[in-house]
């Protein structure tokens, strides 16, 4: 329906505006203001006065300016052409804006998310006469070499296919199928539009049981995330949230990546835009951009559009999930989103409860993370949305509201420790404060696929680290030399695990990604080292001899010196290690020899 004039502006306070004469409007309806047609959204209604949040700068807006209704809520366009795009928080393609406006963003530009002119090669998958129901595939469009865009029967539509477009090229607004339903004929196009603020639930939710393989050793082995799960990365500034999110976006074994830069730095988005077309997906060798969609509403862009960027992103994720894909969504940072919520609440003079946040903060967080999930999208297809949210606690203090409430709604918590970051231990994922509740759900996957006792291996390494943490407390009082050799060995092995396994340099072309095989082999090797070392120390070898072993450096450097396709070098390393241990063992004075 064409926009109709209905109200007039009466009040402006930053991004919050009020308009009278809005009795007909509904909550969350999208409206446009002034002749510039700035896009706004109604967030409160009282009698005929609507309170509106504005997605753009309000400078120069005056009482008396006209307000036009759109009749529908904020929605995002979905269809071929999304992949490889960079969109702002309300779904406008930034590349198109740049062509129209130059390097600086000016307000008031209306551009659709999807290109209306471009034609896409459509291949039908059904024939006229077929009975279809929601989730069935009507046809496909090869959107990128990495991604087949599946045009599925929309929710609420079922019946007999009357017509289907023949194989050929179509724009997103052309009809590609007509379905006879109980309530008449329904046309299906390549494009559809979904409101962003409400969730589009899975047809059938299932318990997540397959890990999201990230290629990040500390995550895959120690604090794993399941496909369809939710994780949070809290950490102070510079702790490594963004680098970790970029690593996840690059190397995770998801089909589609949605990366939301929510109130963060412009250059970080540029970095992704510059690197992803060049970085290769380790599984297919194709450029990562062919499976990635970016949403960039940086810190200097309007704060209300920042608030909606999260919803725009997760709606796109649900759309791809319903095709039967595993989608991973990264939001950096959810704290900036929460602050946008707080700022708008403040302008509405809502009652602040904690740190100025409104009482509905936890509810909003829960709604967002609940949109993650794994399940059935059709009889024979499964899909998932995995959500990974960065959290930026003020002062790095995890007791603040956003971190605390987020913790309630995620099952993997990757706490970044500033002290580790200062010491350049990256990723600075604390092995003490982090946890994953997915361990038991996905252990069968690891054990089935690789035939190893993944849980046992993980537990063993973790308990060495936990013991070291306890021993360090004693060391801080009496120094390491006062400890018995067996305990000093624990300190040494823990240091080896930290340097040789937990740390992972995102900038090193070999180290930045490890295959699951390398992850397992490397940790097994370290555990073998511990076995042998402990045995020798029991036999009386002083710990400093272990600390001085030649093989140590090679073992620590293996993560960046041995690439995934040369894992046999780990075998050679093991042989060298055994030889050195054997030599050390021979030197241990035997009681018998002493006697003779």
């Amino acid at each position: 329906m064409p926009p109709e004039e209905s109200g007039t502006v009466t009040y402006i306070n930053g991004p919050v505006v009020k308009a009278s004469g809005m009795a007909e409007a509904s909550m969350m309806e999208l409206v446009y203001v002034s002749e510039e047609r700035l896009a706004w959204e109604i967030i409160a209604l009282e009698e005929d006065v609507a309170t509106i949040q504005v997605y753009e700068d309000t400078t120069g807006i005056k009482p008396g300016m006209p307000v036009y209704r759109s009749g529908s809520p904020l929605a995002v366009e979905l269809g071929p052409g999304l992949v490889g795009q960079v969109l702002d928080g309300i779904g406008r393609p930034l590349n198109v804006m740049r062509e129209k406006q130059g390097a600086f963003l000016r307000r008031g530009l209306q551009v659709p998310t999807l290109d209306r002119e471009r034609k896409w090669p459509f291949v039908p998958n059904v024939s006229p006469g077929a009975e279809v129901k929601p989730g069935d595939i009507l046809g496909t469009v090869r959107e990128t070499p990495l991604l087949e865009h599946r045009i599925v029967v929309p929710e609420g539509v079922a019946g007999k296919v009357i017509r289907v477009a023949p194989e050929g090229e179509y724009t997103v607004t052309e009809t590609i199928a007509v379905i006879a339903t109980g309530d008449g004929e329904r046309e299906v196009k390549l494009m559809r539009r979904w409101p962003v603020r409400r969730s589009h639930p899975l047809k059938e939710r299932l318990k997540p049981s397959v890990p999201l393989i990230t290629g990040q050793r500390v995550l895959d082995i120690f604090f794993p995330l399941a496909k369809g799960g939710a994780a949070a990365i809290p950490g102070g500034f510079g702790a490594g949230k963004t680098v970790l999110q970029h690593q996840l976006a690059s190397w995770s074994d998801a089909d589609v990546i949605i990366y939301i830069g929510c109130g963060e730095r412009g250059n970080e988005m540029t970095d992704v835009l510059r690197q992803f077309p060049e970085l290769q997906d380790p599984r297919t060798g194709r450029p990562l951009m062919e499976r990635t969609i970016l949403i960039a509403n940086t810190s200097n862009m309007p704060v209300t559009a920042r608030e909606s960027s999260i919803y725009t992103g997760v709606t796109i994720a649900e759309y791809f999930r319903d095709m039967g894909y595993h989608v991973a969504l990264m939001a950096d940072s959810t704290s900036r989103w929460a602050e946008a919520v707080r700022e708008i609440a403040g302008r509405l003079e809502e009652m602040p409860v904690e740190e100025g946040f409104p009482a509905y903060l936890p509810a909003r967080l829960a709604e967002f993370y609940e949109r993650a999930g794994y399940g059935k999208v059709a009889d024979d297809r499964y899909g998932s949305v995995t959500i990974i949210g960065a959290v930026s606690p003020p002062g790095g203090d995890f007791t603040e509201p956003v971190t605390q409430h987020t913790k309630r709604f995620v099952r993997a918590f990757w706490a970044l420790d500033k002290r580790l970051a200062f010491a350049r231990h990256f990723p600075a994922v604390s092995w003490i404060d982090s946890y994953s509740e997915y361990v038991d759900d996905i252990a069968p996957w690891w054990e089935g696929k690789y035939g190893v006792d993944w849980r046992g291996l993980r537990q063993r390494a973790l308990s060495i680290l936990a013991r070291e943490n306890e021993l360090q407390k004693i060391v801080q009082i009496i120094g390491p030399d006062a400890l018995p050799d067996e305990q000093r060995l624990v300190l040494h092995v823990a240091a080896m695990i930290k340097e040789g396994f937990l740390q992972q340099n995102a900038l090193d072309p070999v180290d930045r990604y490890s295959t699951p095989e390398k992850e397992l082999k490397l940790l097994e090797l370290l555990m073998h080292y511990e076995d042998r070392a402990r045995d020798l120390v029991r036999q009386g070898l002083p710990v400093y001899r272990i600390q001085g072993m030649k093989v140590n450096r090679a073992l620590l450097a293996a993560r960046h010196e041995i690439p995934d396709d040369k894992l046999e070098e780990l075998e050679a390393l093991r042989e060298r290690m055994d030889a050195e241990f054997d030599a050390l063992e021979k030197e241990i004075p035997r009681p018998r020899e002493v006697r003779s």
Binding site: N13, N267, G395, L507, R553
Partner: protein, 461 residues
């Protein structure tokens, strides 16, 4: 539609802190500039913060002292706050709102620009990747500054942050390039002698005709500070993106800026968050710091070096905290190093340059640079742990490797960090880093590649 009231003078209904309330307005837009005329005829400028029907709230920049409800008059201009930008501004000194204070006439040519600028489209940015050699080892070697970066100095009162900033300005070069930096200097609430120090130092290095200064000093109206960085950055954007210059912007002291912002927020009744700062401090600071970088279609760049003093030397205070969350790293100064007479007293562990990853190494500085920096960090972090233990059990009780770490730490601080006014090339810096590592056994250097060790590592004994 309402008629504008540009020529109409209205009475003042209420004055509260930096805010003036006016009734009977018509056609006034959010964010436009108003002029308040005091009883004595003085004109003060302010910005419209809220419009509610026929009422407007104005934030007055130049102070509300002697504005009375009875005798003051208000006029709206219909325009946002602007500054006139031109090449003529180089070599000149202005107040915090852009009016000349060097005795010279206002620049004649030029174009009026909205001081709030417009956000850079992230798709139009060019990623910064040119190494700036500052001649300071702790920066060049370990926290490399990149052209187009925003890299603040976190300091505290009594530390030589001004000296460091002036040294960076004096020594900054791009090896192998002729182009020079143009300096935009914005002072917010700094003391007269500090401003004089900078002026003198720009003069000594013969750079004065390449400097534009905006001075809001300690005794100038505090609310004016909320616009000073925006005026300065508007000029910087003009010089960088219209005139293709490489601009280095010094903003000091951002803590004073934030305090002025808090004053306005409090007067307005905004919901306070930590330490009374408003919840939008992050977005507000971002609207300043994000005005740095490079864009398509222009050869110029804006590199920002904001300086801020951390109250109580507390890095978790909202001002350094939110700054660190926005800028591309930070250079942290340490009172303990300063007490030991080390200059520059840069605490390398909490310092960070996020952009160095793309501006160093093969083809930029030297191929060993990334791993060398990484290893220096790791080894120096180890020194701190060993020092803690040594403090308990005494140095004699340490293992021989641990004692080597202490010697490494000593050398690192006394030689690598403590360089005084020396201007070192990047090669000198890197070689010094290797010399420091020469104090450690090779087994302790797992972050370096074997080839690099073969080429550069020379153990001391």
């Amino acid at each position: 539609m309402a008629v504008t009231s540009r020529r109409v003078y209205l009475g003042v209904e209420e004055v509260s802190g930096p805010l003036v309330f006016v009734r009977g307005v018509k056609g006034v837009g959010y964010g436009e500039i108003a002029e308040v005329v005091t009883a004595s005829g003085e004109v003060r400028r302010g910005r419209v913060l809220i419009v509610d029907g026929d009422r407007a709230v104005i934030q007055v920049f130049e102070g509300t002292g002697d504005i009375s409800t009875k005798r003051a008059r208000v006029r709206f201009t219909g325009e946002p706050m602007t500054v006139k930008v031109s090449d003529e501004m180089l070599g000149r000194v202005f107040d915090g709102t852009g009016r000349p204070i060097d005795g010279g006439p206002p620049p004649i040519g030029g174009e009026e620009r909205d001081i709030n600028g417009s956000p850079i489209n992230p798709a139009s940015r060019l990623y910064p990747e040119n190494f700036i050699q500052t001649g300071i080892s702790a920066i060049d070697g370990m926290n490399t500054l990149i052209r187009g970066q925003k890299l603040p100095i976190f300091s505290t009162s009594g530390l030589p942050h001004n000296r460091l900033a002036a040294q960076i300005v004096r020594q900054a070069t791009i090896p192998g390039e002729e182009s020079e930096f143009v300096i935009v200097f914005a002072a917010m609430g700094v003391k007269h002698d500090e401003a004089a120090f900078f002026r003198e130092s720009f003069r000594e290095s013969g750079a004065l005709e390449n400097v534009v200064m905006f001075l809001n000093l300690a005794d100038d109206p505090s609310i004016e500070r909320t616009i000073t960085p925006r005026v300065a950055l508007t000029v910087a954007e003009y010089l960088a993106f219209d005139r293709d210059k490489h601009v280095l912007v010094i903003l000091t002291d951002m803590t004073n800026y934030c305090e002025a912002l808090r004053e306005v927020a409090t007067a307005r009744g905004d919901v306070p968050t930590r330490k009374g700062y408003p919840g939008y401090l992050y977005s507000d600071l971002a609207s300043i710091y994000e005005r740095a970088g490079r864009i398509e279609g222009s050869k110029g760049s804006i590199t920002q070096i904001p300086i801020l003093t951390m109250p109580n030397n507390d890095i978790t205070h909202p001002v350094p905290d939110l700054t660190g969350y926005i800028t591309e790293g930070q250079i942290v100064l340490d009172p303990k190093l300063h007490q030991q007479g080390i200059y520059p007293p840069i605490a390398v562990l909490p310092s960070l340059s996020r952009l160095m990853k793309d501006g160093i190494g093969e083809g930029y500085t030297r191929e060993d640079h990334p791993n060398l920096a990484n290893q220096l960090y790791a080894s120096y972090a180890r020194v701190q742990q060993i020092r803690n233990i040594a403090a308990i059990i005494g140095e004699e009780e340490l293992s021989s490797v641990d004692r080597k770490y202490l010697r490494f730490g000593e050398f690192f601080e006394q030689e690598f960090l403590n360089q005084g006014d020396a201007n070192r090339t990047i090669e000198e810096t890197l070689d010094l880093g290797w010399r420091a590592l020469g104090l450690l056994p090779v087994e302790e250097l797992p972050r370096l590649k074997r080839e690099q060790i073969d080429k550069y590592y020379h153990p001391w004994e």
